[in-house]
């Protein structure tokens, strides 16, 4: 294996290496000091994240099965940042006694899904895409069912794995039809040979819905809320941000680079689906009491907004999606970070429990507020810029009505985000959550999120950087 291969594939290879290292550590480490694996793993992953940013030439490996372009690299790096935050946020939770016997398993599962995602993003062949997708899903089901003694967790696990099995079955059926009409499944060749015949379209749509399932686009989203609610909070935050983000990344890459010939078709589909997605997501989010479930629906509607960037179909669309994902990672993880901190300390996960939070925990409340504002797209935090670019991308294609519907939807979403803010700042509570002191990793994670939320928007260089490496249909 030459150095060039290594440097091109360094994300995945390093991940596998770390994965094995953790396995080895699990086997040979003194059981009394197993808790240190957490720190060990996070530090190793931090190094991977940093290494990911090293400049690298473009290229492809394994006969175009594995493709590296700057934007794909950027996507992986964005995911890495998110995972780093997730891992930091998990440390406290993993330190609890009930999890003491499965610390390294958590890391192995989580990093293996990340490996899958990275491969998926770099895939140049539908087989790679499929395998990456499965690798990103199957261990996740286990993670969702991670809490062996919780009914909800088990339910989440089974719902995730079975519905994802169904969806991947449909996706595969679609792929088989594409294979039948095109003759092979290399991205470059499919792009060249794909025709608009009915069967090919059918294959494409089946494939599309399989991806839509991962991104939780309505009506393929129904698993999302239950799984998010049931899974442990840390896993939920991972699911809602990283897993969804990875699927979106490859989705947009496939649409832009493999199926540009039928862009009219998928633009129409996305048009309808994005309206459905944001509206339904919002309508469900309004009534939620459980914060995780609430964020699940909010993340569904977020996916709807992101589709506006996808529908743009051009450079700007891709840049806006990638950029928004970056923003979304910081914002959503910020919100989840607060939820995790509170859940760890008090076990409370309902919005009502947050009543009067500002009085006792002003810092956490402020972070939550920033994160929610960012999710709602309120300036001057990053979410505003992200949404603005998404809408700009859609508007550039003349989808002004769609943009209008989307913005009107943001008002509904603002409504329920404000409900949380209201709970924290305005409502009074008899027994508010007592002041809590979070440990260093949690603080570090939250600081990263806040930094991201505040800086990513104003620092135009980030957007310009992403924009320069994006490509369109």
């Amino acid at each position: 294996m030459s150095l060039q291969i290594f440097s091109l594939m360094r994300h995945e290879l390093l991940l596998i290496a770390v994965l094995l290292l953790i396995l080895v550590a699990e086997i040979f480490w003194d059981p009394a000091r197993k808790k240190n694996i957490r720190i060990f793993a996070v530090i190793l992953f931090g190094i991977i994240t940093l290494l990911g940013f090293l400049p690298v030439p473009e290229g492809s490996l394994f006969g175009e099965m594995y493709i590296v372009t700057p934007v794909r690299l950027m996507m992986k790096n964005i995911l890495n940042i998110g995972v780093l935050i997730v891992l930091l946020q998990s440390i406290t939770w993993l330190g609890k006694e009930k999890n003491s016997d499965k610390i390294s398993e958590y890391f192995i599962l989580l990093l293996s899904t990340l490996t899958g995602m990275s491969y998926m993003i770099s895939s140049g062949h539908f087989l790679m895409l499929y395998l990456g997708l499965e690798l990103a899903t199957i261990p996740l089901a286990a993670l969702a069912a991670f809490d062996r003694y919780s009914n909800n967790s088990a339910e989440a696990g089974i719902k995730l794995i079975l519905s994802s099995a169904l969806s991947s079955g449909i996706l595969l059926y679609g792929l088989s039809m594409i294979y039948g009409t095109v003759g092979n499944l290399y991205f470059t060749e499919v792009a060249g040979l794909f025709t608009g015949s009915n069967l090919a379209l059918l294959g494409f749509i089946f494939f599309f819905t399989g991806m839509a399932f991962k991104i939780s686009i309505v009506p393929f989203h129904l698993w999302t809320a239950d799984v998010y609610e049931g899974a442990p909070v840390n896993v939920t935050s991972y699911l809602s941000v990283i897993s969804k983000g990875a699927a979106l990344f490859i989705f947009i890459i496939v649409l832009f680079s493999v199926f540009p010939a039928i862009s009219v078709v998928w633009q129409k589909m996305i048009y309808v689906l994005s309206i459905l997605t944001m509206t339904i997501g919002n309508l469900f989010a309004i009534r939620q009491q459980n914060l995780k479930r609430f964020l699940a629906f909010s993340s569904i509607s977020q996916a709807g907004y992101i589709l506006l960037g996808v529908i743009g179909g051009n450079e700007l669309g891709m840049a806006s999606v990638v950029y928004y994902l970056l923003v979304y990672i910081f914002s959503n993880l910020g919100a989840f970070g607060v939820a995790i901190a509170i859940s760890n300390a008090s076990g409370k996960e309902n919005i009502d429990d947050y009543n009067g939070l500002y009085k006792t925990n002003p810092g956490l409340s402020l972070i939550m507020m920033l994160a929610l504002f960012s999710l709602a797209g309120i300036p001057p935090v990053a979410g505003f810029f992200g949404k603005f670019f998404l809408f700009t991308a859609a508007a550039e294609q003349g989808f002004f009505i769609l943009v209008l519907i989307a913005i009107l939807n943001t008002i509904i979403s603002l409504y329920y985000y404000l409900l949380v803010i209201k709970a924290m700042f305005i409502n009074k509570s008899e027994n508010p959550i007592p002041p809590l002191k979070s440990d260093f990793p949690t603080r570090l994670a939250l600081t990263l999120c806040v930094g991201g939320i505040v800086i990513v928007g104003f620092a135009s260089i980030i957007f310009e950087y992403i924009r320069n490496m994006s490509f369109g249909v």
Partner: protein, 640 residues
Amino acid sequence: MTTDFGYALLIPLIPLLMFLLLGLAGNQLKARLSGLLGTIGLGVVFVLSYYTAYKYFFATEKIAGAFSKITAFDMVWLRFSDSLHINMGILLDPISVMMLVVISTVSFMVHIYSLGYMKGEVGFERFYAFLSLFSFSMLGLVLANNIFQMYIFWELVGVSSFLLIGFYYQRPTAVLASKKAFIVTRFADLGFLIGILLLSFNTGTFDFSILCDPQGAAIATGSGAAFLGLSVMTWSLIFVFMGGAGKSAMFPLHIWLPDAMEGPTPVSALIHAATMVVAGVYLVARLFPVYIISAPDALVVVAYIGAFSSIFAAVIACTQTDIKRVLAYSTMSQIGLMMVGLGVSGYGGHEGLGYMASMFHLFTHAMFKALLFLGAGAIIHAVHSNHMTEMGGLRKYLPITHITFLIACLTIAGIPPFSAFFSKDEILVAAWHHDKLIFAVEYIVAGLTAFYMFRLYFNIFWGKETHYHHTPHEAPAVMTIPLIFLAFLSVFSGFIPFSKLVTTDGIPFEGHIDWSLALPSVFIGLVGIIIAMVMYKKETSLPDKVAATFKHGYKWAFNKFYMDEVYMFVTKKIIFAYISTPVAWFDRHIVDGSMNGISRLTNAFSFRIREFQSGQLQKYGFVFISGVLLLTFLMVYLWN
């Protein structure tokens, strides 16, 4: 030329300064001192005004035999467009100079008088501040050199009137009266404003010197377009007159005037008798060339409204018992007469007799009506009541008041040689030549006027002997001196040769008394007086009998022809109950309701669709599959 009269700027400014001084620092000063300051300020104005009058009429060269129009001061205040800009200026011409004299005289007298009348009242300095504000506004009004400036001061006059009527702000009736006065005149001012809008856009200017130039372009351009049969110019001038009618309490906008008597009596004398209420007359006079040339139809309206108001008010005045209200209706009646004078006037030379007479009457009326009010004030001051039923035989207690009051009554009754004889007579002459019907009405009014004034006079000073709680005593000197001064003016101002001073075109003409018309009017006045004497000099049952004879008529007149009820109906019922309440309801329930409805709908919809999220894995699968198939069907077979 302007430099000569540069000082004229001081005339309105001094009261303004006084207002600011007393208004801002009044509560720091001693009450007495603020009163004196205000009075001294007005004294200066008084002197300056008389000096100006002298200088203008006698020391300034005439141009082509006419009094020149002098712009003593001019600056742009606000610019709308190149031609339309509001200026602040001072225009001196015969009528404005005449008004200066009227206002400064009456105002000065009232200032002096109030030193006694208002002594010891709470808010003494406030009273003087408001008086100064009023004087400033009124002077600004008459000196205005453009119609918009006039409007500005018009509003200011209105608000100072509002403040002064509501001077006793803790008395609910006063508050109501002030509100009513303001709103009714405000409504009239709306007409004025619309009139100004129409007028200025038709003529392209606000400036009186351009607007009122008979040969000027403004008048010529404006008479073109027509609307509902009348030219736009006519409409605009009718609207302008609406403003004047409001301020001058012409029917049907007169309803505020009797209630305005809730204010302190000196205020009634100053504002609601002598100065502000004649602003409407002044307005029409100011725009007279425009009226007569561009819109003679509007002038007909002026004449008829004036005539109707004068007889309407005169009839009511015969039945009222509150002495200030009698005077108020009398004021309305007299102003109607002035309006008639303008309405029946022609333009130029002797044709403009009505105009001259109207101004003349304005002048004399100011003097004797102020005198009447101040006299009434002295009476009220002595008796602590407004009602003539509670008075009688006061001639013994209040000798000076009695004499001056009698002089005023004779004057208003048009008995020679008192001043009003001359002015009223000339109006009748003009009316005779112009419109016989109006002449007839005014002839009757002259009789009625004499009757109700002497009804008042006899009821107060003669009539039954009334027992008073405190023995009434004559007012102090500060109050009687103004009475005497005004009585003096009432008697002698009739000899001022108005036709040499104030005419339509500024060119003097020879006026003379037309005895064939004057004698009958004196006669009817005397008849009125005699009837009043018979009925009221001694306490008899005669008045009740007469009242019983004209039962319905009396009742209607006594209730002021139910105009207040109409007003209440319009405000309480129509505006409050039928417009505002429904609007407010509509806003809360329909407009806002639809906004809330959207959110309620969203919530309800969100509740409805919750079944989709049933928790059943297989239902999720079903939705998934249906979605896939539907999408496939749509995209492959329908939209492809």
